[in-house]
Amino acid sequence: MRAAVIRTEGLTRRFGDLVAVEDLSFAVGQGEVVALLGPNGAGKTTTVRMLACLIAPTSGRAWVAGREIREAPDEIRAIVGILTETPGLYRRLSAWQNLRFFAELYGVRDADARIEEYLRLFGLWGRRREPVATLSKGMRQKLALARALLHEPQVLLLDEPTAGLDPESARSVREFIAELRGEGRAILLCTHNLPEAERLCDRIVLLRTRLIAAGTAGELKRRLFGTRVVVELANPRPGLEDALRLPGIGPAELAGGKLYVGVEDPRRDNPRLIKRLVELGAEIVSVREEETTLEDVYHELMGGADAQD
């Protein structure tokens, strides 16, 4: 893994008797986008707030860019950009005034030039003098993103960055996040949009107060569902699935003219499987890997967590 810019170890936060986050350990590397997934109340916002040094952990530790969150909160806040669940903009002030205020708080040099750059980048330059209240929801979200980026943070904590955006704007925001990854920033993304997480994120952290699972989308799928190969046959015949007993292959299931076969290692096992099928007289039309989505993984794992709760 790349050098960790965000790292947590046993991070726990309690509010009285309520445990919001328990024993959470994960890392986000430089130039990496990690999705923090979980249902409402899973502890995503509490985790982000701890990493942004807004609230302190009850126990456990976390480091952001090498600084411990309890030891250097002011330094961490200066290098973290945060996009909160709601844009949180001063509605009576203009887009320019909003950014100017935050630029001063972050001590941004050449603030006016930087503000202009971001307003132009997000297509808000023409509306810069209008009160934020008059901007569309998408424009406000973009403005909030511009605010999070204004001080060129090393670390970005983004809570639902595309929520409420039209498909075109959502796409441009996703592309922009991918560009930020390319610049080497560490990005932690909280989202309920699973296809977005799968498309955009290098790794996934599934959270439900405790860590449920972590890994790349592919790893999680393989860990949970293994790999299944779908073989379409011209001459499906019952009993064929029972004849496929080879090491690393199986179980197999015949349904609707297709043979579904579990394989441990596709590179090693697929050629052996096809060879065996041909030996058994099967006429193969096509072979492909069965597709599972992050959504399948999510529901499987969260369902499991439900059962444990």
């Binding site: 001063y90 009576r92 972050y106």
Partner: protein, 237 residues
């Protein structure tokens, strides 16, 4: 200082766009000045001693102004942040708790004092024009101490109380109404002078300061305890 200045500028820029705040800030000083000047005009035929009593009573209004003006700004200052959901991004910046607290406290106090003193000056000018001269004994040291030394403490007390109340409500009107209790210390001299229980003297200014300073210290202590990042994000409603 940079961050405190930024908070002050933003608070004022926003306050100037809120009709209720703008009305309070503009209307009260003008109304108080006009009303006090009207009292003096009514008593212009009185002998100098009677005029002095009238001016003493009228001057009391200028102790209420440093409380009333900051109240309207401060009531919106915290509740407005809650309404707009701006507290979290604001607290995620490197601004320190004390810088934010100072910025938020001073934003209502500074215009409150400037406008109160400007209104006071305007009133003296009007009185001078109406009466030809200010009766002797009116502009005494105790009076100047009341206006220039006690007024800042009255204004600060109003702001601290509003901050405490605002942390427990998300409604500007409720914050304003409950915070109006902060006007009580400013009413003590009004009641005392109006009832002519004592003249405006150093002893009374001292007593008033003796009441105000511990009240301010207590309100400041509570407000500072409430004004911590974590407290704001997790406990404020």
């Amino acid at each position: 200082m940079r961050r405190i200045r930024a908070v002050l500028r933003r608070e004022w820029a926003e306050a100037m766009r809120i009709k209720m705040v703008l009305f309070s800030v503009c209307f009260f000083p003008l109304f108080m000045t006009g009303f006090a000047a009207y009292l003096v005009w009514q008593g212009r035929a009185l002998p100098p001693q009677g005029q002095a009593v009238l001016l003493n009573t009228a001057l009391i209004y200028f102790l209420v102004l440093p409380v009333v003006i900051p109240l309207s700004i401060a009531a919106y200052s915290i509740v407005g942040e809650k309404e707009q959901g701006t507290l979290e991004p604001l607290l995620a910046t490197p601004i320190r708790d004390w810088e934010l607290f100072l910025g938020k406290s001073m934003a209502p106090v500074i215009p409150g004092l400037i406008l109160s003193w400007a209104a006071f000056g305007l009133f003296l000018l009007a009185s001078r024009l109406i009466l030809g001269e200010i009766p002797r004994g009116v502009l005494s040291l105790p009076w100047f101490l009341s206006i220039f030394a006690l007024a800042p403490f009255l204004a600060l007390f109003a702001v601290f109380v509003t901050m405490i109340v605002s942390s427990r409500t998300s409604d500007t009107r409720a914050a304003y109404q409950f915070s109006s209790l902060a006007v009580l210390p400013a009413l003590i001299p009004l009641i005392v002078y109006s009832a002519r229980l004592t003249a405006v003297n150093l002893a009374f200014v001292g007593i008033e300061a003796g009441i105000l300073l511990p009240l301010n210290a207590l309100a400041l202590y509570i407000a500072v305890r409430l004004f911590r990042r974590e407290e704001i994000l997790t406990r404020w409603r």
